[in-house]
């Protein structure tokens, strides 16, 4: 009964010596090819970029050195590849490492971002405190009537001295009288103006006093205030509102057109030259760089707004609506492609059932296909919307402002969160006059870090919603 099992034929394994020799041979060939390439590139650079610089003997030496290094690097790799078992194991391990390389990078980035945010929470109250101290000193002077009077006096004596100079130069009595009257009037005016400016200064100083320096307080201030030239007072409110508006306009513009185009390509005209051209065009449009869409928006929409501006002066040339439409154009191909996939996944039997009941084509689309494809369309829309909200390049090309202190409306100029981050990333360190002398802090970068965190929270939240929708649709849909 117990028959001996047929033995599997296994290819004869090479001996260790054979494996080594193969590895030596292959790594030598590889290193030789690499060093020749190295020599060629170096030679080209020498000829093209820095002619007559350095000797070729030195270049040969460098190439030899490079050969040694490349051989030492290649040999273990080739040795592993030459052995079947080792190569299999190494491939598995490197695949695993590569997959989690992304995770590691994400961890590093987020860790770093968190560090910068913590620094922001540390430095911003300090800067606010410094600013408060300055303002308090100012207030003390401004609210003390004798000191204000002294300051006013000091400014006025300057003008009086000028008058005395003029008087001493004057020769006749009539001239003196004229000058005296002129200056008397001017001095009176100046005194009034000084009173006004001093009162304004006081108001400004009072307003810039910030009482709440707790972490929640400064975070709330950051989220609810306009950008400013002093980093501790800068906020992202207009940018945040602008980004929300842009997202809304993008959806309202791109989703109807995108779903319509997808329906046409999937249900109405699936074959023929026209469908083919539209399809190729959409696939290519999805790969066009976002800057190019910005050029389109900055040219066409700005031109149209400028025409409208003549009739309605309240319309800014580079307004929010145009920016939103630009982003809409950018997301349109992405939405079309994802909607096409969602519509394609709706089983044909459902359509045929509806047709058999006497429904017209549009009734089938509206009552069967679109509701069935809705989760897929929504997922695709959210993902492309998150791309649109994160884009800064088209907005820069469109001419969105970097510094907007009003909450935007579709007809006004605007800024967006990525633009704000870009602006802050581009600034040099901030000089602070601390009690121990001037210190430079990278506070703008910390501002950018906090704004990035806000943006990432919004986008990751949107992605999470998309993934949740997709999973729920997968569970609920059983054809």
């Amino acid at each position: 009964m117990n028959q001996p099992q047929a033995k599997l034929w296994v290819p004869p394994a090479p001996t260790l010596g054979q494996t080594m020799m193969t590895a030596v041979r292959r790594s030598s060939i590889g290193a030789a090819i690499l060093s020749v390439l190295f020599f060629a590139v170096k030679f080209l650079i020498r000829v093209l970029a820095e002619p007559g610089n350095g000797s070729f003997v030195f270049l040969f030496g460098q190439s030899l050195y490079f050969f040694g290094a490349a051989w030492a690097l290649l040999f273990p790799i080739v040795l592993i590849i030459a052995s079947r078992a080792a190569s299999n194991a190494a491939f598995t391990v490197s695949g695993f490492l590569a997959t989690f390389f992304g995770l590691a990078i994400l961890a590093v980035f987020f860790f770093h971002l968190a560090g910068e945010v913590v620094l922001w929470f540390r430095y911003t109250p300090m800067l606010v405190e410094l600013e408060n101290e300055r303002n308090q000193k100012e207030l003390a002077v401004l609210s003390d009537s004798t000191k204000t009077a002294a300051r006013k006096r000091a400014l006025l004596t300057k003008s009086e001295k000028e008058r005395d100079d003029a008087l001493s130069k004057a020769t006749t009595e009539a001239e003196k009288k004229e000058i005296g009257e002129e200056y008397a009037q001017a001095l009176q005016q100046q005194a009034l103006e000084l009173d006004k400016t001093l009162a304004e200064d006081r108001q400004i100083a009072e307003r810039s006093l910030r009482t709440d320096q707790s972490p929640t307080g400064i975070l709330f201030y950051f989220l609810s205030n306009s950008p400013s030239n002093s980093p501790q007072d800068a906020g992202i409110a207009p940018a945040l509102v602008g980004s929300v508006w842009l997202g809304l306009i993008t959806i309202l513009f791109a989703v109807p057109i995108g779903v319509g185009a997808a329906l046409y390509l999937e249900e109405y005209r699936t074959e023929g030259w026209l469908a083919k051209i539209i399809q190729i065009n959409i696939n290519n449009l999805a790969g066009v760089p976002s800057v190019v869409f910005g050029i389109l928006g900055g040219f066409v929409f700005v031109y149209i707004s400028k025409q409208l501006q003549e009739a309605h002066p309240s319309i800014a040339a580079r307004n929010l609506l145009g920016g939103g439409l630009t982003l809409g154009l950018l997301t349109l191909p992405l939405i079309i492609v994802s909607a096409q996939e969602a519509i394609r996944a709706v089983p044909g039997s459902l359509r045929q059932g509806a047709y058999a009941l006497g429904a017209t084509k549009w009734q089938v689309m509206w009552t069967i296909v679109l509701p069935m494809a809705r989760p897929g369309i929504m997922t695709g829309t959210i993902l492309s919307l998150s791309r649109a909200i994160g884009e800064a390049a088209p907005l820069v090309l469109f001419g969105a402002q970097l510094f907007v202190d009003q909450v935007p409306w579709p007809n006004t100029r605007f800024t967006a969160l990525p633009m704000q981050i870009f602006n802050w990333c581009d600034r040099p360190p901030y000089e602070v006059q601390s009690p121990d002398g001037p210190v430079s802090i990278d506070i703008w970068k910390y501002n950018a870090a906090v704004a990035s965190t806000v943006l990432l929270i919004v986008l990751l939240g949107m992605n999470a919603v998309a993934i949740f929708l997709r999973n729920r649709a997968r569970q609920n849909m059983r054809y």
Binding site: F96, A98, F101, G260, I278, V292, A449, N463
Partner: protein
Amino acid sequence: MSTATPPGPQSPFREWLKGRGTSRRTWEKLIEWALLGCGLFSIAITVTIAGVILFGSFEFFTTDTVKVDTPEGKKDRVVFMSGEKIWERTSTFFTGAEWTESTGVYGILPLLSATVIVTLIAAVVAIPIGLLTATFLSEYASPRVRAVAKPTLELLAGIPTVVYGFFAITVVTPALATVIDGLGNPNNLLSGGIVVGIMIIPMVASLSEDALRAVPRALRDGATALGANKFETTVKVIIPGAFSGVMASFLLAISRAIGETMAVTLACGETARLVFDPRQGAATMTAFIVHRARGEVDQFSTEFNSLFAVAGVLFFMTLGMNIIAQRVLQRYRQVYQ
């Protein structure tokens, strides 16, 4: 007995149409035309993009800004150039190794070289890692590992490019500066390339994974029956079997890297100069476009119009790569379906 009417949408517009005696057939036709309009809209976008770029480039190649004496002082005026000068500007643009606006020398090679260097570095980072990730996810990973790894990779693709730029100047450049001598801080091509490479890893990985999964099971089984282990099956059977799909993913990712803007602007700087050393900073084509659009230059002066010419080169380069990639992709779809 009333005849049953199929349920349908009741919109005021339809009621209005019915009131006018419009038949259902007309309504259906109208909808089809509207949907055709949606489809044609995308073609209109492409045509308008090409039109704007060609118009601007035409202005750039044929006109010049000169200072003209007017009663109100010197003013810039745009004038047509002679044929000789048009030829000079065109030939300099495509072959010139210098971009100096103050002297009116516009040669695209500095911008092109920076773009090529950044793209090469990005490809060196993204292609091996992306391909290894794709093979791991499609051939090795258990469903549970894949359930964790795939959304994570998608997360990497969801980070805005301006945040990648922020990472480039605050994380990657300082880290590289401790290892590499003479690294330009804060602007260098190396950190820009690395960051763009990280950005396109998910694209390479997910597109190649789709291609690898499309390889029929029979091929895997055949290789196993011949005694191949998993490594040999993957490298000698599956990757060659999915070669066109993998190639298409590389091409699409590279075209994305060429068009990448914000990260490169922040990481590599905005000065146009010819460098071959990735440790130095130089403006890529996209960074130059951003710089020009942000700069204090009069709109539609020659300096400004150079933006359109650069954008044209960028547009047609990426368009060409995308068309090739789509062709390649189509071929692999036909093989296995």
